[in-house]
Symmetry: C2
Subunit: 339 residues, 2 copies
């Protein structure tokens, strides 16, 4: 593990993306989200994801130049077709449009179909909350886990993002509907460790903390057993229905990489426009005090709200450099330096 | 356990509520939701909850005659004050208003503050979906579980409802953010059984399936460990912020029964008005086929989507009578028969 200054990380990823055929502006916008993900400690969708995104661009699975088109509009609701353009750019467009529409109507629902992987969903929540807005957003995905009571994968992990502003730093939830990601299973297995809590069933149908056994069975656990299974089904249907786009069972037929062709929803509220900004701050401050004031289950451990620890990681990385995996950093340097 | 015809159940609960001071119309509207909950197999908030509701009416914690007042309105958003009236009536008003506003604007957000327990949240999802609408609704509650990493209860279980229409019967998710309810712990303990999966921590901080040990520690588990803890915090903040109402830390100060003073959100979409009703049916039918076609983990077991099993229970109860607990049935008969 090394430490790289944020600006250098951002510039290097930008160069990797321009070498793969993106315009300078678009490359920088995408690279910023990747660099900020690593900066915030979400390594899986930061620098680590750059080589795969370059691969998708080169295979034509993500269209470097495609831009979203408005399909229909009705008051506070707009539907866009992402045209399989870069998922980050489409999601940024949808988020920014949601904030604009919410500034006018108090709320906005932007539905986006036929887009590609948005990388770190939390990025859009942080963006909205840092501008004083509330965001509720989710995406559907290809299948990666079984429905409750099934042994084969037919549900997506459909990450859900909820973000509200707070002066000391926003409250941002960014959760996939699987208990653990396959990335977490792999890292845990490579470290020779067990998961802290059961993460799936083995091939005999026994609940296990052994990451390798779950990778082998593909029976990764939905968050909260049957509950996450139900929640992910509803998130999928709503995303596909409101965007008039693809649901998981359609995305599974596309086979052009993770999330290609997926559907996303961005719901924004503007507390200023709604006249409730002051009340919101009281609510959030009260929650923070209440949660932070909990009795820790283990002495010395801090009880936090979603997003609270992110601010510490961010400050450390901005001061001391962003932590990178050396092998991946060298791989991205090579992608940035090629002719 | 006995079986009581649905109409008799409904009439008896209506009488219990009129005896407690409600008007005939309001008593019948509330009784219908209780009776339908038992009819659908949600016993905890059906007949079983009637004595406690009567107690709340008699203590004045729920105001029998209070009606919601409009606080503010802005396009597709409306905020109501529930005036501590019966939670079922307030939630029905909010749901019906959400469907009306959605019929005009395509979508609606109704925020309701200062209301009381809505009983079975799924009731409002079924109501919307049976009229061809999409509903996303949630409530906050008093605290009943610890934040992740804490040992004392500071989070509500904040049930979330998501419902979409389907011709064969709607898809309806109705989930609290705790892995199990205290009611489920009690029933399991009284049966001398263990929970099927860990439901909390004991007083030593060890994850356990022993319901009595969790009742003693009050360290009930949030759905999906840290994930449900985060999700419930965000649902709480959004409910309180958008309704300009109370969050869990405020509700905890009220101390007039479960959920008194809580905040609720009802988001409706009208697929007909949005022009996406046909696409929605394709999406839902495709999901149903995909999920139902999963390979069962145990031979002979059916893999279902949320709400699918409810239709079977409902049909059985309408044909053969609604299953009731004999002691509770006799208690409600006495409440209905008193002077």
């Amino acid at each position: 593990m090394g430490r790289i200054p944020f600006d250098r990380l951002q510039d290097t990823i930008t160069a990797a993306f321009t070498r793969a055929g993106m315009s300078e502006d678009k490359a920088r916008a995408c690279a910023t989200i990747h660099a900020e993900s690593s900066r915030d400690g979400v390594y899986s969708h930061g620098l680590n994801r750059v080589p795969r995104f370059v691969e998708y661009l080169e295979k034509g699975w993500v269209k470097a130049d495609a831009e979203p088109t408005l399909v229909r509009s009705m008051g506070a609701i707009e539907v866009y077709d992402g045209q399989r353009g870069p998922g980050i750019l489409n999601a940024l467009t949808a988020t920014d449009r949601a904030l604009e529409v919410a500034a006018e109507h108090g709320l906005a629902v932007i539905a986006l179909r036929n887009t590609t992987h948005w990388m770190r969903g939390g990025a859009y929540g942080w963006r909205a909350a840092e501008q004083g807005k509330i965001l509720l957003a989710w995406t559907n995905t290809e299948s990666c886990m079984p429905a409750w009571g099934a042994s084969n994968t037919r549900l997506g992990n459909n990450p859900l993002v909820m973000a509200v502003p707070r002066e000391e730093g926003p409250v941002v939830l960014d959760m996939a509907m699987s208990q653990y990601s396959y990335g977490k299973l792999q890292v845990t297995r490579l470290n020779g460790a067990q998961l802290p809590y059961p993460g799936g069933f083995d091939n005999e149908g026994i609940l296990t903390t052994d990451p390798g056994a779950i990778e082998a069975s593909r029976r990764i656990l939905s968050t909260g057993f049957w509950k996450g299974s139900g929640l992910t089904i509803l998130l999928d249907i709503l995303a596909a229905a409101l965007s008039e786009g693809a649901a998981t069972h359609d995305i599974d037929k596309i086979d052009e990489g993770s999330c290609t062709g997926c559907s996303q929803i961005f719901i924004a509220f503007d507390p200023e426009r709604l006249g409730s900004a002051e009340h919101l701050q009281q609510v959030v401050d009260g929650m923070a005090e209440y949660v932070n004031g909990s009795t820790p289950a283990e002495a010395g451990r801090r009880v936090t709200y979603p997003g609270q620890n992110t601010m510490r990681t961010r400050q450390d990385h901005l001061k001391n450099g962003v932590i990178v995996d050396d092998d991946i950093w060298n791989e991205v340097l090579a992608l940035a330096d090629r002719a």
